[in-house]
Amino acid sequence: MLKIKVSQALPNPLQIDIECAPGELHALVGPSGSGKTSVLRTIAGLSNASLGKIECGNQTWFEANELQGITKSFSPAERSCGFLFQQYALFPHLTALENVCIPLQNSEKDLTKRKAIAMDWLNHMGIIELADRLPHQLSGGQQQRVALARALVKKPNALLLDEPFSAIDAPTRQGLYKILAELRRDLPIPIVLVTHDLREADLLADRITVIDQGVGLQTASPHVLFQKPRNSRVAQLVGISNMFEGVFSSGKLSWNHSQYVFEVVDKGKIPPQTPVAWVIPADGLSLHPHAHANTMEARVDQISSLGQIAVVQLQINDGAHLITWEASAAELRRLGLEIGKNTHVEIDGSKIHIMPLRQINDPRHFTS
């Protein structure tokens, strides 16, 4: 188990508490400059946080407290993580084979054996015929396979992947997804993946941590994250389109700037008259051709067709809110939706998820 609990206020705020089990793929997701890569560097030992603890298996790699400062910090070599850099960072003067041999420099003294092990990995990555090429003679996807072989050849304690799929084309990406899936089956080590692409995280990760300005806002499985974001910022970052504000009072949610009030589940956690943010997932929304007790009248504002899927923007008749609704082309025809036409929207109160409007995320308030 890889356990990371670190924080600092300066130079860049950082406040992360994550665990990654052997064989688990844990994705760190956030906008550019949110500090995702800093977390990876802190795990690998390329930089240190000012407070906290990093453990892997039964080893403590890093420990620091307020009184004594850093009391323990293993070097990157001692931590022995496999690190896949965003720009691959291959050694430009060495061939693919020599690049993969480098991490074995100290563990395997016999050069012939080193080469044999490295060749095995290049074979595993499907690029054995490129062994004698220099990095600049390889395509992006090929360079990345060499870099991945280099990261894995010494059997690392953890695999750290920094935006590995951002610079390669879609077909190459599919190939790498497959390699990654095979790796997870064959090599039971914690894998931490940094990405800004939510779809990718959703596709690959067992758990996702959403990071914003260095602070881990929520860690959850992709399903939970999309259904129940912890707060409005998380909802915003995971791209939930139907997020609104309201006031919650004992089971009733009144929608701001609107006459509508919804009956929602009251877990007794929120005091009366609390301003909240709320989201409604796609399965809590339905459209009807005719009005009935729980529907709101809405006008079709915009329809964007994306292949078989259409994104429909609906203007609620209170005039203040837009709701986004995703539908198949067939459903669109069934309802006879066209721009300017009126329809009826129903929001299922039991599917509404309520969150605090803001949260305090100042690292100075973090206790390790």
């Binding site: 390329l46 496999g82 291959l90 420099q105 600049h136 280099r150």
Partner: protein, 217 residues
């Protein structure tokens, strides 16, 4: 032709190279890790570029004369002009090597660290091979510059044939003695040697630049 002077200049250039290149690599690499003191050290190392040779020569005369800081008089001797040549060449040797080290993408060094290499291994297996064109360039510049150095060598060494009278001083002597042919021949030799050295350096530069492109930030 003044064979003695040519051989002496070559001897001086080769000795200078042998001593200054390892030192230059060490200093240039050490400078990578300095922050606050770096501008001061860089300025001190660049001084020989801007000071008149006479000023440098004067201080060297004072430092190396009498019993000198090494305990024995070194002026007007080969060792004396070698020390002068080393000091004069500091910027020519260090700056290209320093630029070459600085041009290595830091991520490549980090990749070497996470690959488990020690600092010495990183230096030997990654940094040195990636900085080799800078080192070659430093060697060529130092060599050519030592062959042509005049002012400081004259101040510190005088013009003792076979001991301190280098090609450039021999040329000066010949001009003073109205030996236009002798001066012309020696000048041509110096001109061609420098031209070849610089051409070789540029050739090395051009080839390695394309080979190592992917490693540069």
């Amino acid at each position: 032709m003044d064979m003695d002077a040519i051989l002496l200049s070559l001897k001086l250039a080769l000795w200078t190279l042998a001593l200054i290149i390892p030192f230059g690599v060490w200093v240039a690499h050490a400078l990578l890790r300095l922050n606050r003191s770096k501008p001061w050290i860089e300025a001190a190392l660049a001084l020989p570029l801007v000071l008149p040779p006479t000023v440098l020569g004067y201080y060297l005369l004072v430092g190396l004369g009498g019993k000198s800081i090494f305990g024995i008089p070194l002026v007007f001797s080969f060792t004396g002009i070698l020390i002068a040549s080393l000091i004069v060449n500091l910027p020519f040797a260090i700056q290209p090597i320093q630029r070459a080290f600085e041009a290595i993408n830091p991520e490549i060094i980090e990749a070497a660290q996470v690959s488990g290499l020690s600092n010495w291994q990183i230096f030997r297996l990654i940094e040195l091979p990636l900085a080799w064109r800078g080192i070659t360039s430093a060697a060529v510049l130092t060599f050519a510059h030592t062959l042509g150095e005049f002012g400081v060598v004259l101040m510190v060494g005088g013009a003792i044939p076979g001991e301190t009278k280098t090609v450039s001083i021999a040329i000066y002597d010949k001009v003073q003695n109205f030996d236009a042919t002798g001066a012309g021949v020696l000048s041509l030799i110096l001109l061609l040697t420098s031209l070849v050295a610089i051409t070789v350096s540029y050739g090395v530069f051009g080839r390695s630049a394309s080979r190592q492109k992917s490693g540069r930030a």
